[in-house]
Amino acid sequence: MTQSAAEDRAPTLRARVPWRRHLLWLAPLIFLALFYFYPMASILGLSLSRSPQGLLGGFVTFFTTGRELGVLGFTLWQAGLSTLLTLAIGLPGAYILARYRFRGKDLLRALTGIPFVLPTLVVAAAFNALLGPSGWINTGLMAAFHLPAPPLTVVHSLGAILAAHVFYNTTIVLRMVGDFWSHLDPRLTDAARVLGASRWRALREVGLPLMLPAIATASLLVFLFDFTSFGVILVLGGPRLATLEVEIYNQTVNLFNLPLAAALSIVQLAATLTMTVAYTRLAARVSRPLPLKAQRVTQRLVTGRRSRLVVGIVAGLLLLVLTSPLAALAARSLARLGPQRQAASGPLFTLDYYLHLNQNPQGSLFYVPPTEAIWNSLTYAGATVVLALALGLPAAWRLAYDSGSRLNQWLDPLLMLPLGTSAVTLGFGFIVALDRPPLDLRASPWMVPIGHTLVAFPFVVRSLTPALRSIQPRLRQAAAVLGASPRQVLRHIDLPLVGRAVLVAAAFAFSISLGEFGATSLIARPEHPTVPILIYRFLSRPGTLNFGQAMALSTLLMLVTGGGMLAIEHLRIADVGEF
């Protein structure tokens, strides 16, 4: 009787509350309207406006100059090539992580997760430390063979870009394909083997077709990241190799051709949004019903010479590819190398690069001491965490509780749009839209944290929603029946359960803000640089001290963001989080 009475009452309650609850959408939507849609609309307007080339001048230039089409071609080419190479390394890695249990596997998994969260500038610096003219390999060869100049020119070539992209994105393949693979019933391929298929044939006819959706999703995501890669290409590509992303930056910052930059941004936006839509469609298909098994069943110990060899080689290769640049970076920040060393022949080990972080050796007027940049970065990151949580929590709350409602089905993909927009496009939008009335934020210190919040917002929502959804209404009802007031329910039930997810979201926002370079490079004021901006400045200046300081700053940033990633892995409750 009581239950049916409650059910009778429920509809009226449900009917009355919504409009007030929908107010929670207000802040996130206003934020997106002002700082995403308004800038994007401004870019569109600019690209369509009259320029020296006439109406739609930007697009005219884009399609009539061979250079711009060449840039688009190169963007696609390097992204495709990077994706193939990433698969070539990632798929064997995914195989051993999915099918075998071995000592040190957890460590290997954790280590392979680090590159993905590292700021692009750190990765670029790491490859400089390994392969650059003053890197370990070149200085080593110079010392060994008494060469006057660095023998290898890997940096400023396609090779360096590809290597950095593989380093960056192998994690995606390892995680997405590896996780799926680890739940795929090995008896399916066993069955094919017994029915007369050789090892390879069984993989081709049964294993691969079943994994194809997972492989395709991972590939698309890798391609998307390679397509929008900015910092890596700006630093490692040199002056001659430009992708769309770098070209937008160049046209804006160096050539002031805003209509062309706007047209490029629209092309970039169209491409990334198409890929994002394709990605979400594919990701939905991965969840098609398959007889998934627990890892306990699908994984086996490494026994026998053959599997020992396979696991050893693949794990070794993964470790080499994914940790050698990081080790090179950390070591390079503590080592005196290069021509100066031969002249001075001081000790190899040095703390100079760290000790100089607080000094302004040339007494230069425009010089910003690194400690100040570190302080800027930390302040911006703190502000980003506060902003992203303040906007992300209400949005995630609504998404979690009305998951079926029509409004949410519209708003959910809308919130994810910034994820499918490249960082440089976001920054360019800020420049175009927010430097004149009605919204003139040119001088505002909030410009950078707002930009970072835009980038972090989808990640925050995506990590909070599943956690909120996992709290069953029953728990709240049970607490209420036991005499808890709504406030007590929030304090004793919701917050403890959501607390970890909030921490994870905060760590995401913090890491993203610390490492963000694409948007920041366009919107940060020169006298208030962030750490990645300063690393870029150091890397583009000559001299051992500049290079060493870039290494030192990158190492610090790597430690902080890597630590953040490990904290996320540690805090994240199993299977919560939609990545």
Binding site: L188, D190, R193, V194, G196, P289
Partner: protein, 352 residues
């Protein structure tokens, strides 16, 4: 009928396989003659499935040997052994329809499309799924999946078919129907087969010989009837549902032997004195008999099973014994004291 050559069929000699901490298969030997059906019977974790995987070549032997028609199988890859294996939960390929699943093995053999098409139709008819060819695997019921899996493993005409708990998850009615069909089907095809199960009824219904496994070791290898008539160990007896096992001692008594237990002294067949376990068969008891061996006790449980009545008797020493009586004997209610007479010619067996 000619005697098959001694080396024809499968011969397993002293198979050993250990995983990290357990000896999954520990010295198992047996033969399967062409056309014969051997059941591997035992509780879960006794090494049945591992034995199958060793024969299929999906696992490698630690030691021992496998021979087919006298030829050593070590180093022969699973896909070239020509054996079929029907997996425990069928492992049907979810991205292929019924026809594609059944055709897979023949495609691997490189058979021409026409042959494959005809054979698939024939197999569908054989397992009673005519017209199901275009169905997706996830549209099938449990029984239909089982039939598709059977058809798939039979289609390439394997020299040896292995079935791993093929009736495992099916519901009881379906299981009993298939239990009657399967041996007929395998007989008709003269299919050499190894049948793994934990269910003794299934093993007895399907196989012509049964191998009982316990913790990777062979407890007994016999025909179903011999197995039931003379279980070789307390483990086998218990596994077959013969639970009346009492510790005792064999002594010489006159010209024969007797077992001395807490319930008294019973005449047995034996060869030497010593500690033994005495099995009292539940189906060799009556309520009338005046003299001869008997046990006294109170009825503590009584269940009506149609033509039989199953009763648990608790003796004065606290030992509980289960017996099966004919319905027509009119068995007393719980609480009554009874004297159960035991047929000396078949009630007692000495187990090690």
């Amino acid at each position: 009928m000619t005697d098959p050559q001694p080396s024809a069929g499968l011969r397993a000699v002293d198979l050993h396989k250990a995983f990290a901490d357990t000896r999954a298969v520990d010295g198992v030997s047996f033969d399967v003659q062409p056309g014969g059906i051997l059941a591997l019977l035992g509780p879960s974790g006794c090494g049945k499935s591992t034995t199958l995987h060793l024969i299929a070549g999906l696992e490698t032997l630690d030691s021992g040997s496998l021979l087919w028609n006298g030829q050593d199988l070590s180093g022969v890859a699973p896909h070239t052994r020509g054996f079929g294996l029907m997996f425990q939960d069928f492992a049907l390929f979810p991205h292929m329809n019924v026809t594609q699943n059944i055709a897979f093995g023949m495609r691997m053999l490189g058979q021409p499309d026409d042959n494959i098409r005809q054979r698939v139709e024939a197999m569908l008819d054989l397992v009673g799924l005519t017209g199901f060819g275009a169905r997706a695997v996830d549209e099938l019921s449990g029984g239909e999946r089982q039939r598709v899996a059977l058809a798939r493993s039979l289609a390439p005409r394997p020299r040896l078919l292995m079935l791993d708990e093929p009736l495992g998850d099916l519901d009881r009615a379906l299981k009993e129907g298939l239990m009657l069909e399967l041996p007929d089907l395998l007989d008709e095809l003269e299919q050499t087969a190894i049948y793994v199960t934990h269910d003794q009824e299934e093993a007895f219904a399907v196989a012509d010989r049964v191998l009982v496994l316990n913790r990777g070791r062979v407890e007994q290898l016999d025909t179903p009837e011999a197995l039931f008539r003379r279980p070789a160990s307390p483990f086998v007896a218990r596994f077959l549902g013969l639970d009346n096992l009492i510790p005792g001692r064999v002594l010489r008594e006159g010209s024969g032997w007797a077992a001395e237990t807490e319930l008294g002294r019973f005449p047995v067949q034996a060869e030497a004195e010593g500690q033994i376990t005495l099995l009292i068969r539940p189906d060799a008891a009556t309520l009338d008999g005046e003299d001869g061996p008997s046990v006294l006790g109170g009825v503590v449980e009584r269940s009506f099973r149609g033509s039989q009545i199953r009763a648990v008797i608790e003796t004065t020493s606290g030992q509980r014994l289960t017996f099966v009586f004919s319905f027509w004997e009119g068995f007393p209610e719980v609480g009554a004291q009874v004297r159960v007479a035991l047929d000396p010619s078949r009630a007692f067996q000495v187990l090690p």
